[in-house]
Symmetry: C2
Subunit: 323 residues, 2 copies
């Protein structure tokens, strides 16, 4: 029987790429999303439902006859979650607990959850950071992700839920938002192209682990194919300073940025590079696209008008088919 | 100027003992409580306010002109929190975040929070468990305590809140509830005296760290006196198997218990003994009362009719006065 997959947040940045990729396989796909994707049309053969994640009846209905839930919904981003932690909890934590309870009641056996490799660890003591590192999140975004991870683990140990928690680093690529809160790379591209000032909190030495979207989608599809369970970091395994990201983008676009350096923010972790050894070994997966290559791909997409299908799509290395 | 202390939950088990002890010192005391204490009358000179912790206006009003908040409120206990995690979050996590925001706005500088040494660590890898051990809570109760700890730490690092998080083991003593959900020792006493069956989930080898209430109160008062900040375990540092607790109580009461062994519960951690080295060193504090002595004291209190003041009260070792 075909695997029946529900993608929660299937029209978001990660979701729309994942749905396109899964649709190439022999699966049945349902998407629950707040709204349509602004860059690409619905994928043929996929059932789309539009609802708010907080509406538990709509979520329960979407869970009927589903084998795997891929939970990509996040109603907040790191920069905004701290402003209103209660909204973060009401919009993300409580609906996810309701989801877990409904999956249990409806016997939906498997969950893939996208957590946040960039925020759950806080200021790490080692680099790269392995999955068993202590979690001391500094931001509401990270605190809520940790709580969700803990509830998922609780439902796994108490009710036998098969769960996969992916602590993803900083994914980037085409169709990512650029209004200054979702991803730094689209934001930098957007501002450099529009001649706007680029704000950098701190001195630009903050190090992050940037992962091109196709590499992330490769990991997720492969983990679904292999029925992977557990907790895995998903990143490039490489660290890049923020000012070096800017240099790459200046190089790719051949435009000099106007930069405004602002005081550092307390909730920004200084250095996050993920140890991806466990994920590599479990899935025979490895990131294919360097930050420079990924920025070139993003730039090509922007020059094409920021719409349409992915270019050039996943390499053969990431192609898998479900049994 | 006298220290002005607000005790949230000042009529609960820990709260009523703490308020009595603090009232002996040269401080101004205010209590916010849901209801009156069923065992003891209000303490003279203490201002009592009755409100629900979720009513943020009442909480804000109680915070006016306060130097230290001691937050003892927990609207759930480990055994019930799992049944309704959303209620746990709405009743404990969200009001605590609101408290932190109000303290920040009203410039209340200091917070003491009672966390749960028995649940935040989950199944620990070492025994006794030090404070820097990884936190992998297995129950909703523990998950929510971890989230609260994380928000307190976030407010400390971002807004300069002076915070003390006490991960208390299993406190017990006079005035503790015995309806089978709050503490195992009063429950065992109550059931053995009434001839009721005692339910033990598992084989009775589950190990816990039991701390007599006076030792806990000694730690809290001393930590307030010394303006201690940080995260500390507070326990006896000694582990006792559940069946050995029962033996002690049988010995103290000279009554043989009727025991019904039930299947173990998934959210029960097997072994929790806290490493209390840091607390000992920071406060020159050490637990005074063994489990056997504590059970005798509890038994004396029960025989006196389960009411009235503490007997015999804190030893001289724990007496301190505020500057």
């Amino acid at each position: 029987m075909k695997k029946r997959i529900l993608v929660l947040g299937g029209n978001g940045f990660i979701g729309c790429h994942l749905v396109e990729e899964l649709a190439l396989r022999d699966v049945r796909l349902r998407v629950l999303a707040r709204s349509k994707n602004q860059h690409v049309p619905p994928v043929k053969g996929v059932e789309y439902r539009y609802a708010n994640f907080s509406d538990s009846i709509d979520v329960a209905e979407a869970l009927v006859d589903v084998d795997i839930v891929v939970h990509l919904i996040s109603t907040t981003v790191p920069a905004t979650a701290n402003l209103d932690p209660a909204a973060d909890i009401k919009g993300n934590l409580l609906p996810t607990i309701s989801l877990l309870q409904q999956m249990h009641e409806l016997n939906v056996p498997r969950l893939v959850f996208i957590s946040s490799g960039g925020t759950v660890y806080g200021d790490a003591k080692v680099s790269p950071i392995p999955e068993n590192h202590i979690r001391n999140p500094l931001s509401s975004y990270g605190i809520v992700k940790v709580a969700i991870e803990n509830y998922i683990s609780m439902f796994s140990s108490q009710y036998g839920l098969k769960s996969l928690i992916l602590r993803v680093s900083n994914p980037y690529g085409p169709r990512q938002g650029h209004i200054g809160i979702q991803g730094v790379i689209p934001t930098f591209f957007h501002r450099i192209l529009s001649g706007e000032e680029i704000k950098i909190w701190g001195d630009g030495t903050v190090i992050r682990d940037y992962l091109y979207i196709d590499d992330l989608i490769g990991f997720i599809t492969k983990s679904i194919e292999k029925n992977l369970v557990g907790i895995y970091n998903v990143g490039s395994g490489q660290g890049t300073a923020l000012k070096d990201v800017l240099s790459i983008i200046e190089n790719v676009t051949n435009i000099k940025a106007k930069v405004n350096y602002l005081p550092p923010r307390g909730y920004d972790v200084k250095n996050v590079v993920l140890d991806i050894t466990n994920g590599r070994n479990a899935l025979d997966w490895t990131p294919q696209i360097s930050l420079h290559e990924g920025c070139i791909k993003y730039w090509q997409w922007v020059k094409r008008g920021s719409s349409g299908n992915r270019l050039p799509g996943l390499g053969t290395k990431h192609r898998f088919s479900f049994p």
